[in-house]
Symmetry: D2
Subunit: 310 residues, 4 copies
């Protein structure tokens, strides 16, 4: 039975992303003819979700890759760059906001302790200071665990998700809570390498570059994109984990491997870099930047020259 791993427990934002990816039909058809729906498989970490795909214990994983407040999700990037190759097939962006949940009949004035995953705590810090001052923060292992801790009486209120609050029988003291507007997380659907989804004209391609440690190596690689008018939408450096000061680079750009100019650029990067890991080309729904320039007219011109018809 095909499965799809995600950062659990049930009720996390990641599960919500998984539900949305499935609902939007973004999961490529399995190679088998098995018509049964994908079974969600909660894992204890993002890295574990990806490991499940590598071990063929899951067909896909849904993992967060970028947050508008905190930036890249390092464990996701590091796992994508290491070990056996994986590939991204879809993405989905969720608005991030929290539910402050309590056991039934608890009033705001009764709250002395607040359970929160530290990352979530940081995102509602100002709200808590204003609305629940003089409470003590109790660390929880996830947003869902915070709800569970409150249900178990280990804290009075939880910074959690709407879904988790509901599952653990809690009531919302407040909803849509977040200090900073526009907080969003982008999730990706990851599987074993396969043919990329078809080009839609609104696609994203992602690669990981390892470069020789020479001045100008990165700018030379980036110039391979810039000179082809390919719109670099994200660049992230991550330590190689072997030497402080040596990095690998994650580059996202607009376009699909089946766009001529993207294909050219990939080939050029492969030639220039110590290593290029292709992380996939997939649809973004809306175009994420400037689309790659079409090459049809230039290709026709070139073909004409070869036939002696300038």
């Amino acid at each position: 039975m095909p499965g799809i791993a995600y950062l659990g427990p049930e009720g996390t934002f990641t599960e919500a992303a998984l539900r949305a990816i499935e609902a939007q039909g973004l999961i490529p058809p399995a190679e088998t003819l098995d018509p049964s729906p994908l079974t969600p498989i909660p894992t204890e970490s993002t890295v574990a979700a990806l490991a499940a795909v590598r071990a063929a214990d899951a067909d896909y994983a849904v993992v967060p890759i970028e947050n508008s407040i905190d930036g890249s999700v390092s464990p996701t990037l590091d796992s994508l760059a290491a070990d056996a190759p994986l590939q991204i097939f879809a993405e989905l962006t969720l608005e991030v906001s929290f539910t402050i949940a309590v056991r039934p009949a608890t009033a705001a004035g009764d709250v002395r302790t607040v359970a929160a995953f530290p990352v979530a705590a940081a995102q509602v810090k100002h709200w808590l200071a204003a609305r629940l001052p003089k409470t003590e923060l109790v660390p929880a292992n996830s947003n869902a665990a915070a709800a569970k801790d409150v249900a178990a009486g280990q804290a009075d209120a939880a910074v959690t998700t709407a879904l988790a609050a509901q599952r653990y029988g809690l009531q919302a003291l407040a909803g849509d809570v977040v200090d900073e507007a526009n907080a969003r997380t982008r999730f990706v659907l990851v599987g074993a390498p396969a043919r990329p989804p078809k080009r839609t004209g609104a696609d994203r391609t992602s690669v990981v570059l390892r470069l020789d440690n020479a001045p100008g190596a990165l700018v030379a690689a980036m110039t391979e994109l810039a000179i082809r008018d390919i719109d670099l939408t994200r660049i992230e450096s991550r330590p190689t984990r072997t030497e402080l000061g040596t990095y690998m680079f994650f580059l996202d750009f607009v376009g699909h491997i089946d766009d001529d100019s993207v294909a050219e650029a990939l080939r050029a990067l492969h030639r220039r870099c110590a290593d290029v890991r292709y992380l996939g080309s997939w649809p973004t729904g809306e175009v994420a930047g400037a689309v790659p320039p079409p090459m049809d007219e230039a290709t026709a011109w070139l073909d004409g020259l070869r036939e002696g018809h300038p």
Copy 2:
């Protein structure tokens, strides 16, 4: 009385970095003639340490900026990029390793619960699985807090620092514990803008760029460094926090504002970018890469041309 803020409580790695920075004489002399030593001021967060400098509650702050495993320390970067300008005056790199500490007379076999700051827990995960299996992780608010929690009987063992273990009267079950070799953290000494420390020939300069959202803007900015043979040692993108997909860029490179080629490059970046925030030039002890090319001979040639002596 001059003070120097750091991420507390006492016993953190940051305090150890502060002590080392002071011991190596890397703190610029205060403008006042006050001869008294700087008073360490523990704060609850990195951001709070920097805020203390901005509020003139501290002369300096010591904050972590980069880790060989996790990469950049986002709150440090974001705080340096926002609000009133700050400047970096020194850096110090510490090997990261932990002490597993228990109350006196506790044996390994007695440990059921382990208090750990989540980041630290991640860095000793394999060690714990091998040496303290079947124990439960209890989140703590810092490495020092983990020691305090154990002293208070809230957990059996702490993943902590040697210094904190000592301060809280704990004993080391193991020292120099870390899953991954070469784990190091780089700390920086931050103060209000002032004249940079003198050029030593082994210096680092850091800037934050905000770019117009045009394809090629980043590569054009980086070319300003590459064409001058300035060695870019780090590039980090961080979300601008206003729009998912828009970034600011942190660039570190070898050299000092008083190196001619670095001065040229800064001027060029200022001209080219929507905004450049200078984060300082400071000594690195060892050279961190290729030094900027000297311009003396070329400058002499240029001066000769102006005088009619080619």
Copy 3:
């Protein structure tokens, strides 16, 4: 009957180049099955030779394009860039040296006047000053015409070619005369646009670019070659003849339109430039510089990605 135009009259260096091109089998087979040899057609100028091809009065023309002393031959370049497209199919380089020819029985001491094409006169100026001082230069319309003028008694000695001296019944006072060693002229075989000669691995490709008049337009175009490690062997600017200070650019580089990286670069130039005129790809015998990097391995990698086999 197929014909091949050249700068006449008989006996010029250009005729010698034509003979060598034919002897080396560098003339592409005519589309017709006419097995008869090509008839040399002398013309009064390089431009007239090219015009004969455009008018279909000749199948090919042989014209000088570059001289190691004087640089590019402007009328050849200008004619290739204007009017109906032409294409280069072969090249041949000749050492340039002159014969000083006199009527039989004339001694060096008898020479009072020397007939010379002005370009040739410039190339033997020092020789004449040393060996035939106190003689007067008489302008001639070509190297061959100088020999004819001497045969007609209009001057005592001719700066001419070995072949022309022979044809006009003159004797060599001196041979292999040239002031500057290494003087060589490169000639090209030009015809109507057709399929380029097959790639040999030692080929040259030539284009004419017209650029929008924007700072950086030329360097951007040249970067399309440089970034692909295509070796630019020549760049020549020529005025557009409409406005002083506006130029078109002739670029020669190593490689063939059937080299993947050259094809990419041509396509990129077509996309980037106001106009690109392709002047052909043809064999050079010896490689004229660094060969374009092979793309086979990178192409195989790209094809693998598309099939899901990284």
Copy 4:
């Protein structure tokens, strides 16, 4: 007595340019206090005029450097690049058109032979074919010599200048004759190296580059200009005369050595190139392209950083 060499004989376009340069006050004041006017010194060639300056036989030379029809004047460029350094101090552009001159009382119908300097003959070829068909061309050594030849009865009509026609007592059969409109020649005033004329805001700077024979060397040098938004107005390659296929490059750009960005670029070229020969910075009257970007604001910013005032 100070002198100024030019391509003679009297009556050439170059003499006309010399007169105009003097009239416009473009000649820098001599270092001596000698108040006497400069004496024109006719020479037999452009190269001889420059040699006179090198030998201190003349203070300055006026030589043609570029023609809108034929492009660069190679002997001028080659002489500027070789031997002892010279420097350009001014420029002047003349419209090129010819006078067709005859002896008094000669009618168009009487003309059988036309004396012409070959370069001039090429520029009035269509006019001659239309108005004086069936005439024979007789080569002359200069435009002025053509007039002299007609005065001496060696030909019936001369392609010459208005000034030469007048001096040799000829009458104009036609004036302002030229096949192609917009034919213009740019002349430069050349002297021994000295302080450049003061920056006017509408200046030109010129250099000769010799590059290591490496792919990308030229584009790298040109990028030093492009990245500083310096407008390259001309690039010319000339063979080095030692090896076919090796070149030196003449670059003209808008701006003055006292423009900060031009100074930076010169320094960078000096650092990057095997050799840079500075040919001067001088006023152009009208701006010849995009002016170099001002650096004052960026310099002030940089100075502020050095003082601790961001």
